[in-house]
Amino acid sequence: MEDKIDVLIVDDEPAQREQLETRLQNLFPQLNITGKCSSAEEATLAVARTSPRLVFLDVEMPGMNGFEFLDSLSKIHFDVIFTTSHAGYATRAFRVAAVDFLLKPYPESELQEAVNKFLHKQLSERQPNIEVLLSNLRDKSESKLALPTSNGYIFVKLNDVVRLESHNTYTTFFMKDKNQIVVSRTMKECEEMLSDSGFIRVHQSHMINLSQVKKFVRGEGGTIEMDDGSHVEVSRRKKDEFLEALRRL
């Protein structure tokens, strides 16, 4: 009984709190739910009182939201699994920082997967991603991207990524310093993640950082010359969208 893991649930909806508690009790007897909070204010007190090891944190709450709550703490001593019902800016932010989240409503299998990931990792391995998430939300211009490697993540500045090129299930990130990073993610996944971060997919296998376009040569589709001197083909169907995005920049 001594080594049970203390867990805090933070969600403004009573039904969500109850459901999550019941599911966790059924699935993970090693977890000990020490509290259920309906607001960030309550959570601030609960965290100070019980020092949980894991917090399930709802993003959208009246008053202080989940992100603001974390920002208000001087140090985060716990792991976080975010919950949200909107697939929007928050889920893109989670993906960019490779932070775990549950999109409500979710099946039990997804909850199981998320908790298992938490159980098999040290806090020190997961904390940097949460810190990157919070700093990305504070200052978008300095955003960092978490790229999965064989033993964890490396963090690169979005501004340092020139372009992406896909090869089936892999995507290569071409960096400003001429480095290339190969990631086992599809172009579609990268597109979903980066579409509102100044990147645009201009071809079936190419995505570019709009801020690093040097010039554009019109053709049936056209060719972009990037700041690093590389050339990227634009497909005919994407030309207008690309030019429009460039104008809005």
């Binding site: 697939a87 999109l103 409503p105 979710y106 099946p107 079936q204 497909s235 169907r237 994407k238």
Partner: protein
């Protein structure tokens, strides 16, 4: 000398005048042509915008009745105390709604995405009808579904018609087969079902718009797409009969332009 100069000046002026007179008609004709081209361009841009909006708007009509059908079915499960089923239903419905909302700003989506959404819809209908039917989707070999653009849920009204009006009398053996293949610059979609309710066959004989809301939605989408792409589309349904000349189901063929996403 002075006289000569002024003469030269006069001649110069004359040449200027003459050349102006000669050039004027060309200049007028040229400006006119430029104006016509400009106007035509502007008109076609405006028409394009309008058609794109139409495509979006038509699609938006599909969703309300479709969403409430699902909610109705979930409500039914809850009333029947089928908790597990209601929960399964609701998660699938949530997946489907999210996908539809995420794509609602687009006039076309990839065939890959569209088939995901259509499958989710079919699964929902299977749940609702107590597995009264099965479905199969056959794609042409090596079809690059992530690089083909289609209007979202174009086939949904056809599937819905089969499920709600075709399979009522069937116990378990309802069947929907969807075949998608490309032919030169066209995309062919064929939906076959073995639903045999007489009423739907009678409806199919009715003139144009009276057939059904679903069918007119498909026609409208196809018409807008045809004009937008400057290509032809086709939409035809036939009643199938078996060897003993009884109605045995329905087949619908849709032809639309093959539009690469990239």
């Amino acid at each position: 000398m002075l006289l000569l100069q002024s003469e030269i000046a006069q001649t110069g002026e004359l040449i200027n005048k003459v050349s102006l007179l000669v050039l004027l008609p060309f200049l007028v004709a040229f400006s006119f042509i430029v104006f016509i081209i400009y106007r035509r361009n502007r008109e076609s841009t405006l028409r394009r915008k309008q058609l794109e909006l139409e495509l979006q708007a038509i699609r938006a009509q599909i969703h309300p009745h479709f969403i409430f059908n699902c909610l109705n079915s979930i409500h039914y499960c809850i009333q029947q105390h089928q908790t597990e089923k209601a929960s399964d239903y609701l998660l699938k419905f949530s997946f489907l709604t999210r996908r539809i909302l995420e794509n609602s700003g687009k006039k076309l989506i990839t065939l890959e995405e569209d088939l995901d959404i259509l499958k989710a819809y079919l699964e929902l209908e299977r749940l609702r009808s107590g597995d009264r039917f099965t479905y199969e989707i056959h794609l042409e070999e090596n079809m690059e579904t992530s690089n083909i653009a289609v209007p979202m849920l174009l086939l949904q009204p056809l599937v819905e018609n089969a499920v709600w009006h075709g399979f009522e009398s069937r116990k378990q053996d309802g069947k929907i087969t969807i075949v998608i293949e490309s032919k030169e610059d066209q995309l062919l979609m064929r939906v076959t079902d073995n639903g045999v309710i007489a009423e739907r066959f009678e409806r199919l004989q009715l003139p144009g718009k009276e057939k059904s809301l679903g069918r007119s939605l498909i026609s409208q989408q196809l018409d807008a797409l045809a004009e937008l792409e400057g290509r032809e589309t086709r939409f035809e349904s036939r009643i199938l009969t078996n060897s003993s000349h009884e109605h045995s189901g329905m087949i619908t063929e849709i032809t639309l332009p093959y539009i690469p996403q990239f």
